[in-house]
Amino acid sequence: MTAGMTVLGVWIAAFLTLAVLSFLFKDNPLYKFAEHLVVGLSAGYWFIVLYNTTFRDLISDPLKADFSSFRLLPQAAGSNIVGNGLILDGIPIVLGLMIWTRFWPKAAWTARIPIAYVLGAGAGLAIPTALDNFVVTPLKATLALPIVPGFWQTWTAQILGATAPAPQLGIGEALSNLLIVIGVFCGIVYFFFSKEHKGVTGATANVGIWILMIGFGSTFGFTVMSRVSLLVGRFEFLLNRWILDSFWRLIFPGH
């Protein structure tokens, strides 16, 4: 890569940056150009990436290995599994080719088989992962939250005739944790579909949606920062790499 190409790169990048920024004023030919360019570039980029990762690593290389060793199925070596074999490596290729049967109306229906496979695999994996990640994990975390302030522990311990347990929870943190428990409870009630939001259910659901809104608001507030960072990054590029590094040197060579 020559220095000339680097400088050219900075100029092109600066032009494209400005072309995209011009969208803020209004839709215009420059933006339209950048938009169409990036669609083509990124589609090509992904084709190359997937060609290298998927086609080579998962299709052609394993097949070559299978053919050279004439293996149909994976082999067990002790308790290890060696190779995949032509059958396991071939099935996805057959499934993949089925997608292309759309150009042959008689067999077009077979395209549904790979679709069904992909959707079925996703769905099957989703049931336990969704319940694990989104239900069991938050539930466990919520149940584990200590919500009993120290003074309360001392009282109950006295009543039970035991000594109060050692780490005493401050009342502020106990209440904050309690807020999480209540918030989770009310928030879930908000999502009930088979109960009308009236009476006690309605009141609980209302608290739930308030908590949800506080959560959404805080997320929004939090987001502003990262978006601004990104924009600052682009301005830094324009200011430092383009105007100061390239532009300036072009006007005052040697500085």
Binding site: F25, N133, V224, S229, V232
Partner: protein, 278 residues
């Protein structure tokens, strides 16, 4: 100008004010003190506790579009790790980031006089993070028989004695993608390694809960996290610190927009109602 006109002001006016709010503090920097949050402190402490010769795994998953936010924290943490004399085994499970991560890793390694293969290794990219992470849990060589440059992983001195997650002191994920969920779901919750995450500030708000539940050692959120890290590393004029000052101004501008927008809304006859959607 009437309140109604103000309430419906052309968005280009808003854009111009915002640009001014960014460019002015860029040229005339402000100096504000930065307070360190416990989540960042604990990441710093964990890296500070590394011994010479310890190895950490680093997974860097970001691409140029999130560079501005992710690069400062990556640089800070990598510098810190290398200064502690620890070694780094890095991967990137996010396609568009692969080459960017390589450049960043090399830059900081060179800056600290670290040698490839001995002090750090970059194993590169493999698609479908869930599978790769699961395979990494068995043996790093399993999904990455060769490193990014095509060298057999086993021949790298840094990989000696490094088998899987149990051989590394810390897994550090600098992650701007939803791929971070894979590290939690298929990595940490399955193999129970200490995991620290650096992420965009936006994503961070969703992951504080994991610090609370003990699944994460700590969390660095966005540029503020990076600026806090710079404070801990005593770098007073770091990039993140400078940008944080711009942030201050822009946040005030956005809050100002909300205020003015609402005043105009109420003055031009807008009404507050208890009910109704958000």
């Amino acid at each position: 100008m009437s309140w109604k006109a103000l309430a419906a002001v052309d968005r280009r006016v808003i854009f111009v004010i915002l640009i001014a709010g960014i460019l002015l503090p860029m040229v005339f920097p402000l100096k504000m003190p930065i307070a360190v949050t416990p989540e960042v402190q604990s990441v710093y402490d964990r890296i500070e506790s590394l011994q010479k010769g310890d190895t950490i795994m680093m997974t860097m998953e970001y691409d140029p579009s999130t560079l501005a936010e992710m690069q400062p924290m990556t640089y800070n943490m990598l510098r810190h790790v290398f200064r502690r004399g620890a070694k780094v085994v890095a991967v990137c499970l996010f396609t568009t980031g692969v080459s960017q991560v390589e450049q960043d890793l090399k830059k900081i390694a060179d800056e600290n006089g670290k040698k490839y293969g001995e002090d750090y290794a970059y194993l590169g990219y493999k698609p479908y993070p869930a599978i790769v992470i699961t395979a990494l849990g068995q043996d790093f060589r399993n999904p990455f028989p060769k490193d990014y440059y095509g060298t057999p992983t086993d021949s790298l001195p840094v990989m000696k004695g490094i088998k899987n997650f149990s051989s590394v002191k810390l897994v550090l994920s600098v992650n701007a993608t939803s791929g971070v969920d894979f590290w939690l779901q298929y990595g940490q919750s399955r193999f129970r390694f200490p995991l620290a995450i650096g992420m965009t500030a936006v994503m961070a708000s969703d992951y504080y809960t994991y610090v609370q539940s003990g699944q994460l050692v700590g969390l660095i959120g966005g540029l503020k996290g990076a600026a806090e890290y710079e404070t801990l590393m005593h770098e007073k004029d770091g990039y993140a610190t400078r940008v944080m000052n711009i942030q201050s101004v822009v946040h005030c501008i956005v809050v100002g927009f909300i205020l003015v927008g609402n005043i105009a809304f109420l003055m031009s006859g807008g009404k507050f109602r208890m009910g109704g959607r958000a």
